[in-house]
């Protein structure tokens, strides 16, 4: 691997986004999958970094899931998106940041389509007025939330308490980065680092002391694929994708996977359990899996947030070995306690992969 070659590409694919005053929209599924992530994002940006990130309670889904499942036409999806943008404008913002990669893809695609087909934009403008009586607007800058953490990675590093380093050996942790397909595969210029060698997560890993693992199936999709996981009979395809990735990364013995998409960490996490149940194989050491975290969770960890406040107990793959490697103190008893101190109940113990 010639790192200078990658650096050249990273330098070519830098996008210009402001570092403050954003209209923040959430992801539909992340709040359910990883409830700590978006909260942590807002907490870091607002409270730790002192930025202005506004959230409007009236924002909705971007329509992406329905769009990609072919249940709504493109115009409908675009009108939903136009409404989101209108909300941004109404709230007095012109920078738009979303938490979800699917949304990011939809927004990018929509903006590019409007740019190429102004007549479609005019049509949507009308639809928006007809349906919501809202004024059509387009954001000046569109960013994904991971773009901002990428942008703030050195500021976060300054406040870092637990770098991505194995405290016992002193060596950097080996980190696999996994980019959501809709981040830059559709529009390479819209992602930090482009489509082939995205830098957005690599930059965070490097800034926080980890070592990036580039393995043969790095570009492979996690297998989320809306059509695949919606239908039970098709989930095998989804699982097989993940399986292929793990088989490919296994020899590198990664300590951690960091992702920037709602679905990827979910499938990279849950399928490890399913693969273990079906084949008896686990990819971490000593019967553990490889933790697949969101970038907010990793940012939170290095900044010293309590693992359970970050919602890491929501991961199927046990997080404890990672915490121990990084030297992060945690209270095992609190793992399944809610914020109010009540017991959340423990998940059933899987037969293969270790959960504690």
């Amino acid at each position: 691997m010639i790192i200078e070659g990658k650096q050249k590409i990273w330098a070519d694919y830098q996008k210009d986004i402001p570092d403050d005053h954003y209209f923040y929209v959430r992801s539909c599924i992340r709040q359910a999958f990883w409830p700590g992530s978006e909260v942590t994002f807002l907490d870091i940006t607002r409270n730790k970094l002192g930025k202005d990130f506004y959230e409007n309670p009236y924002h909705t889904t971007c329509g992406g899931i329905a769009y990609h499942s072919d249940t709504i036409p493109q115009e409908t999806a675009m009108t939903i998106i136009a409404r989101q943008f209108a909300l941004m404008k109404e709230s007095g913002y012109e920078n738009y940041v979303c938490s979800c990669i699917t949304s990011f893809g939809c927004y990018t695609e929509t903006l590019e389509t409007w740019h190429e087909y102004p007549e479609l934009e005019a049509k949507i403008r009308q639809y928006l007025w007809d349906s919501c009586k809202k004024e059509f607007a387009k954001p000046k800058y569109l960013a994904h939330a991971s773009d901002l953490i990428y942008k703030f990675r050195f500021e976060i590093a300054k406040q870092m308490k637990f770098p991505l380093v194995n405290v016992k050996t002193g060596k950097p942790l080996k980190v696999v980065e996994h980019i959501g397909c809709h981040y830059s595969k559709m529009f390479p210029s819209k992602g930090f680092g482009g489509a082939e060698y995205p830098h957005v997560l690599v930059g965070m890993i490097e800034a926080w002391g980890g070592e990036v693992v580039d393995y043969p199936e790095r570009r492979q999709c996690c297998g989320f694929g809306f059509r695949q996981y919606f239908v039970q009979a098709n989930r095998g395809y989804s699982e097989s994708n993940t399986h292929k990735k793990f088989e490919s990364m296994e020899p590198y013995e990664p300590d951690l996977i960091i992702t920037n998409c709602p679905g990827c960490p979910y499938f990279l996490d849950r399928w490890q359990y399913v693969i273990a149940e079906q084949t008896g194989k686990t990819y971490g050491k000593n019967g553990y899996g490889i933790p697949a975290l969101t970038y907010e969770e990793v940012a939170g960890l290095v900044m010293g947030y309590d693992p359970w406040d970050l919602g890491l107990q929501m991961h199927q793959v046990a997080i404890e070995p990672l915490l121990e490697k990084m030297g992060i103190p945690y209270d095992p008893k609190k793992k399944y306690q809610g914020l109010n101190g009540k017991d959340l109940g423990q998940p059933m113990c899987p037969s293969c992969i270790k959960s504690v």
Partner: protein
């Protein structure tokens, strides 16, 4: 545990592990086996191909891509009539190769 689904086999031909024993054995006695240009004449003229999927072009590929069983299954259809050999623009002795595969 039954999840109602399972890992699906990869459709990739893994060239690193493909077993080429049969193909290499054929190559020794039939060096012309390499010279196929995949024109498909053999398949188009094939008497059995008129009724089945029989295709010598595919059989050659199957042997090179580790699908020997499929290749042998396809050969079951062959009538050894030799039309393929007559039409091959590269002059490959196809009938002989087909026969050699069965040994």
């Amino acid at each position: 545990m039954d999840f109602g689904f399972c890992l699906s086999p990869s459709s990739h031909v893994k060239m690193d592990t493909v077993d080429l024993t049969t193909f290499n054995r054929l190559k020794e006695t039939n060096p012309d086996i390499n010279t196929c240009i995949a024109c498909g004449s053999c398949t188009a003229t094939c008497t059995a191909g008129n009724f089945t999927e029989m295709s010598f072009r595919r059989i050659l590929l199957m042997l090179q891509r580790g699908k020997e069983d499929e290749a042998k299954k396809m050969i079951q259809r062959c009538m050894l009539c030799g039309k393929c050999t007559l039409v091959c623009p590269r002059g490959i002795n196809i009938r002989k190769i087909l026969l050699d595969i069965t040994r």
